[in-house]
Symmetry: C2
Subunit: 223 residues, 2 copies
DNA sequence: TGACATTGGTGACGAATTGTTACTAATTCG
DNA sequence: CGAATTAGTAACAATTCGTCACCAATGTCA
């Protein structure tokens, strides 16, 4: 019994995530008239010779008006659930964009993850996986910094972590841990944001990692 | 510009991992005569109506003689690198099997990750990704327990963690952390393994998690 | 049979990390 | 000016972690 490839139809479905509407939000595009749902994820097929992440970049740019700086696959689905273009196989890709990025595009809108409209079942699954992957990778990868402009205040950074983790964090502990990690450097700019003391701006500048190997952590299991 | 799906050829490529040969090892199958490489990952196309993980299970069973209990996607590749079946798109799936599982199958052999034979470039990438994903998820998911028989000694468990992490662990710390996590329960069986005191057997039995929410960890970044 | 090597298992101490409280600093509002 | 608000930090207490030292139970071998 010899293995063989199989012909199928393929789509790339992109979950653009950004902190908007006081929450983590997804960018959806208005579906063409006659579709079962009014909204869908931005999607398309990869062009000949185009890598999956390249395709995701192009698709996100068409919906957002700018190319996100970060992409990550969140799983490939081929389980028969309905896709808006009837693709047999979907590659789901999460893209992260800072709050400031993106023009006002006709027929695209932000929806908080907690208040999504009806989506094709395939797209619903991909959004859920994207949210889960992003939340799970938050403390293994500098994802949170991809949701901020190049310079940011520490309160903004903490706010992004709170969005992603869904809980409040303690200011002093957060800053001490950040300090110890050598991930950010202060600039000499300050930003005054209405009332209260102005905040210093920082930028992401990870320094060489000392190999502080820790023991095994059994308390981080999520399943 | 309306999105549309595209016809391509698809394969599922499976990386079966198991602790063998005193290391983490991959199961490879002998390639048919005339192929560019002598060995390849077990692979095939998913059958009509068959989910990707179902296909991975079938493919792994054909090579291993038993179905692994755990699968995880490690990324989909469509970058033009050569695949043994010339598939445009490959879905890479990692499967974990305990050391005891699997019959002696004709034309399949274990290779330590550190001593792989020459593979098609597509397969090489998928093996590397599988190893990276497994290592990265070791302390978020009970992966290590999938590489052990249903009952095991604490030394065996520690050994698996040492294989996955590539470093020695301290016995007392390892056990204290495990104890605090309520992940295993002792059985009333003991196993005598040559010389030395017999070891008590445990099984994986995670208990309800107390929500001991910790602060943000910036020291786990891997990129 | 009795040292000794070998592997399993645990108590306890000091060091490091973390959660928290409480404070100081710099700004806007009235 | 004082109150309110947001930024930032010192310092203490509680907890966790790395390590050392030890005891337990078995096989080996003189």
């Amino acid at each position: 019994m010899k293995p063989s490839v199989r012909r199928t139809t393929l789509a790339v479905d992109v979950v653009v995530l950004s902190p908007r509407l006081e929450a983590l939000a997804v960018l959806l595009v208005r579906a063409p008239a006659g579709a079962r749902e009014r909204w869908s994820l931005p999607w398309d097929a990869p062009q000949a010779g185009e890598g999956l992440e390249d395709a995701a970049s192009r698709i996100a740019r068409a919906a957002l008006g700018a190319a996100p700086a970060f992409f990550e696959q969140v799983g490939t689905v081929a389980d028969g659930r309905r896709h808006p273009g009837e693709a047999d196989v979907s590659v789901g890709i999460a893209a992260l964009a800072p709050a400031e990025v993106g023009a006002k595009i006709e027929d695209a809108e932000w929806f908080a993850l907690s208040a999504l409209p009806s989506l094709a079942p395939r797209h619903r699954i991909i959004v859920d996986r994207a949210a889960a992957v992003v939340r799970q990778r938050v403390d293994q990868s500098p994802l949170a910094f991809r949701l901020l402009a190049p310079t940011f205040t520490l309160s903004e950074l903490q706010g992004v972590y709170e969005l992603l983790l869904g809980r409040r964090l303690h200011k002093a502990s957060f800053r001490r841990a950040l300090q110890a990690s050598y991930l950010v450097e202060p600039t000499d700019e300050w930003r005054s944001e209405g009332r209260g003391r102005p905040a210093q701006l920082f930028h992401y500048a990870p320094r060489k990692r000392r190999g502080a190997r820790r023991g095994v952590r059994f308390d981080l299991f999520t399943e």
